[in-house]
Amino acid sequence: MIRDITIGQYYPADSVLHRLDPRLKLSGTLLFIISIFLFDTFYGYIAVTVFLVSVIKMSKVPLKYIMRGLKAIIVILLFTMFFNLFLTQGDVLVRLGFLKITRQGLYSAIFMGIRLTYLILGSSLMTFTTTPNQLTDGLEKLLSPLRRIKVPVHEIAMMMSIALRFIPILMEETDKIMKAQMARGADFETGGVIKRAKSLVPLLVPLFVSAFRRANDLAMAMEARCYHGGDGRTKMKPLRYHRIDYFAYLILLIYMTIVIAISVIENRLPSFL
């Protein structure tokens, strides 16, 4: 149940995507997210879909596993679509009492749904194929110019990777505590909102206690190994671009050009959809 949340997790597999440089994957993901918000027509949608599907295929992460990540955001997704559907002004298509659906609303609901879905798929694909360590290294390297204006880049990257690393640990912990309380007759599934909220206390208190304990332990362990922040720290495996990474940058560039071109052309042509 609780294990279904896969966002931010690494999925070990042997694929081209896994081997790419994390900097490339980070900037690629950012570009992909931008491209999602560029398209608002049918052809743009096709280009983005083709790109996403082929990247997913290349990653060798099972589709079922990737899709599980969507479960966690299904509520947000439906909410967004709902509001877009009913609250957009424009040409009325259907009227249901005081609610009305407009053509513009329908489009924006569909596009919003697709965008959010792609957003989650794209970014979770990055974490599926990149270990937290690589992610930290990549982020730190990419952000390193900001160090000149006194941004604590190393610390930010470290915090992010620890947060990612803690997701599965806390998930496992939640699972364990839930089971332990269920063994004492706790019931997390039935009852009204108030009863359910109350039933979470036996879960949340031990979870927080354990999160603090773990954070404390980790801090101690890091200090015991002389961790003192980013100053003067060197890498055992410094990041280096390979030929395949340049090739991937080229593909990204082509992809972005296509999406931008489509959105420019389509906006000039009269929309036939």
């Binding site: 269920m182 063994a183 036996p202 879960l203 031990p206």
Partner: protein, 287 residues
């Protein structure tokens, strides 16, 4: 038969690269009133196995019967099962959450829907059994020492008065005195109320002292299921599975190899002492 496992398989994270076949076709019968030891090396599937017994995890395939009823039947009431099969997890102190020891222990009985008086009664009784005195009853569970927390957590299950009590390494990390106190108390409970006890442990000495029958897990298989004495006589096989017999088993076997006619059926230090003394007495009498 109280609990029956019929070809139970369990797979964690099935369909992903994290897939782990943790139980591989377990067949098992547990009778009412037995005191069973469950041993096996780290990761052999002990915790997975016992979580099936009160329905916390559902077998990937296979059937489990409790008092003759299929627990996966849709008319079967899981809540009753959980009230009858008490499971004390590994490191149970991590599940404490209430503001006072009393409230935490009474969480279980309250969930059973008992009236206030009965809840009170059971809570005090359980706390007494694990040796938590009146002075600590209103303390916060988070202020207690590790060993005291453990006792409170165990009391939380005892207060539900289960028919089957399963303990997953209840004494890991306790001092020898505390360990004996808790296990003695459980043995007493077993004797007086005839409850079924299943003890998961890495300590062969504990197994030797308390249980009658031993189950040995290895890589998700139930490889041995026999009386204690018989299992320990197969100590060479146990060693292959990164386990061992109690120290005295080795002592009496070594004596026997040297030609001293001791029985190797002893498992505890006391029994071994008596056995050796007996052999000496026989010898003296012959002279």
């Amino acid at each position: 038969m109280q609990i029956i496992f019929d070809n139970v398989h369990y797979v964690y994270s099935s369909g992903t690269s994290f897939e782990k076949h943790a139980l591989k076709g377990i067949n098992l019968k547990i009778n009412k009133g037995e005191f069973i030891g469950l041993i096996g090396h780290t990761g052999s599937g002990k915790s997975t196995l016992i979580q099936h017994m009160n329905g916390l995890i559902k077998a990937t395939s296979g059937k489990i019967y409790f008092n003759g009823e299929d627990i996966y039947d849709k008319n079967f009431d899981m809540r009753t099962l959980r009230s009858k099969v008490g499971l004390v997890f590994q490191y149970p102190e991590h599940q404490l959450f209430e503001t006072t020891v009393y409230k935490d222990v009474s969480f279980g009985p309250k969930n059973l829907g008992l009236d206030k008086l009965e809840v009170d009664l059971r809570t005090y009784e359980a706390l007494k059994m694990v040796g938590i005195g009146d002075d600590l009853i209103d303390a916060s569970p988070f202020e207690l020492s590790g060993g005291q927390k453990r006792r409170v957590a165990i009391a939380g299950i005892l207060a539900m008065q289960p028919e089957v009590l399963i303990l997953d390494e209840p004494t890991a990390g306790l001092d020898p005195r505390g360990r004996d106190e808790i296990l003695d108390q459980i043995a007493k409970l077993h004797k007086e109320k005839n409850i079924t006890v299943i003890l998961v442990t890495h300590s062969m000495e504990d197994v030797a002292k308390y249980v009658d029958r031993i189950l040995v897990m290895n890589n998700g298989n139930l490889v041995m299921d026999e009386e204690k004495v018989k299992i320990f006589s197969r100590y060479k096989e146990l060693e292959k599975m990164h386990l061992a017999a109690p120290q005295v088993t080795y002592v009496v076997n070594a004596l026997k190899e040297k030609g001293i006619p001791v029985s190797t059926d002893v498992t505890t230090v006391d029994e071994a002492k008596n056995e050796i003394l007996k052999v000496f007495k026989d010898k003296i009498q012959k002279i």
